[in-house]
Symmetry: C2
Subunit: 437 residues, 2 copies
Amino acid sequence: MQRILARETKNNIGKTITIQGWLHKKRLLGGLTFINVRDRSGLTQVVIDNKDEVEKLRGLQIGTIVSITGNVVEEKRAPGGAELHDATIEVNVPVTDEPPIEIDKPLSHKPDNLDTLFDNRVIGLRNLSEQGVFRIRSQILRNIRSFLYDQDFVEIQSPKIVAGNAEGGSEVFKLDYFGKEASLAQSPQLYKQMMVGVFERVFEIGPAFRAELSATTRHVSEVTMLDIEMGFIENHEQLLDFIQDMVYDTANKIYDEHKDILNKFNAPELKLVKKFPRYSVKEIHEMYSKATGENTHNDKDLSPAEERWICDYAKKHDGCEAVFATNLPIEAHKFYQMINQEDSGTVLSADLLFRGIELATCPMRENDYKKLTKQMEQKGIDPNAAGFESYLKAFKYGLPIHGGCGFGIDRFVEKLVGLDNVKEAILFPRDINRLVP
Amino acid sequence: MQRILARETKNNIGKTITIQGWLHKKRLLGGLTFINVRDRSGLTQVVIDNKDEVEKLRGLQIGTIVSITGNVVEEKRAPGGAELHDATIEVNVPVTDEPPIEIDKPLSHKPDNLDTLFDNRVIGLRNLSEQGVFRIRSQILRNIRSFLYDQDFVEIQSPKIVAGNAEGGSEVFKLDYFGKEASLAQSPQLYKQMMVGVFERVFEIGPAFRAELSATTRHVSEVTMLDIEMGFIENHEQLLDFIQDMVYDTANKIYDEHKDILNKFNAPELKLVKKFPRYSVKEIHEMYSKATGENTHNDKDLSPAEERWICDYAKKHDGCEAVFATNLPIEAHKFYQMINQEDSGTVLSADLLFRGIELATCPMRENDYKKLTKQMEQKGIDPNAAGFESYLKAFKYGLPIHGGCGFGIDRFVEKLVGLDNVKEAILFPRDINRLVP
């Protein structure tokens, strides 16, 4: 008999159907046995009164895989509005050990015990709420790609094993590549810029590697990055508008379609306005100093406390949980960013902050070959190093004004769902203490 | 003035518009200067008779970035069916050096000189045909994901830095992970199987790493793999049908939509039938031995010559360029594959061959916890090793019958376009000799 999914049971009232899935819950009530069976579409409730059938489940635990044939009866209190009666059970895969964690609770882990979460990820995700995070994640990626394809973007895959350490920075994983020193790519930065010269608009969603020495709620050593780069944009505002529209569109779709999951995680109501507020770093220092009494006027980048503060401020003042911190200080930034001629000491770059955390950095790039090589030298980087040959060729032979962003998918998932640690948004996170599972 | 793309010029006949892009070609004809300007949508032809305007381009090379304002005139012989007259030129980014390779030829490289291709990738891809390969690649990924989303698949990202060397095999890149030994993932195999227990159907498209010591037309050290895994399938035939449908659907869409690019590469006509022919490895050995006089009856896996031969045979005999080689010999296969009870010495696995090369391996997995651990031990693998703890948990607590495939995206692009080397289908390929660009 053809398998019917849980979501289809209510369309089969009065018929005899077969469902197949995992035994998810079992309880006795007034001499009847109620079981829930989980499949990829949800739960089906089955009521069993035949003792021979109940006997088939003796000694079997949650996780046992069963095929159940029964009659579909309308039942408003059952998941999906219908349940199976007069059931015949076939055990496909018996499970005799009790699972290490409970999966039929609202969540399978305590929010403050992440080691339990990660050590038991493979079982814990059988909990319908927990797995919802990754259904949302998959949907976010689909929405973002769809948004970008519709705007003429070409998807690329750049190499993850790269020569030397082209971008600078110390947090690099090194490896031996057939006797040569190589490293794991920290971002597709140089490759996506090169491809602006070919396709104008490119994006990549893939892993990026950072040997983060600190174990915080925001850092992991393997992240999933969305890298976007687009040429022939008129100015920095246009770039920020584009990224804002992508976030607005994607986040709203998730909140429209996944209310059930978001409610389980107590995700706050989503507040976004079409035009995200924009404040310069200098303005934020001033506002924060005035509001808190701490003096941050002489700081360069924003501190994590200031990032949280400006997000709270924008939510209250502008009705928007996303905010751009613009006119970033030149010191903290890479050689390829474009210097802001209208605000000395800053680059044409902005951080996109959302719910207290930085999601993306969104700079314009220096596209003039001579200025770029000069900026490299000023940062102590040798433009003649082998790793830069192709990169600089792209500029020498004509690259238009361009900009883009490196956008943290894991952080976006974390904050959209309302989680407190980026690792919760990653299937199998990696940090200084964790290399398994 | 708002920029108009090349593909939109023909909708603006009689109007004054501004285009922006790369100087792609320049020639003199009867006292007039003809230039082609490239943007992300194609070429626009511009006719210049004003000497002051021609003068602006003196000494400037292909690649120079220009904004051109002119009147759109219908011209059937021009790309897009229209051209610009009475043009005013603004040079945005001057290029004064002649590009290292020509980009306005049918192809920017000779098919037998791949080093020229890769060393100049960043400029060579400005050739419209060459870049077509990667437009097709982007479209293939989009089509495949769309096919899978429509069938309830959840997209996952598994870690690329993994403990030890769980899958076995010697071709592993090792790295130091904060003092622990780690390796780069050769595939998401174990992770996708674990996720069958959560989502039933998962896929991942991402990099996989293999320290291939040989430099051939089929091997690279960093590949893009499509990994699919699906639970609750009835039998191996159903799995093969699914993969066949995905390939049929995706390949036909590419041939319908990208005839222009495929013609430039002399891609052969696509011949696929809805039901791909299926021959067991034993049958292929017999047929090949009979046809060629070589005796391969005692061989285990198919040789590359046999793979090419059976593809030719299936094309002629079955009218199909894709063919499954089924009943693969047990010796060459991994511990997690399901043994074929009906054909001793074989596993329930098949290779998908297309145009002479293996695209994918499509096995059923052993989903019985006890049989699986026994198969591990038979292969000399310790089930108690740390890398297997979570993997085996997924089986111990209930995993349904499942199967999937590891599908080489690079090879699929290569063969669909009609290329001869998998590296041509990769933006920046990596092999034993190549780590840049």
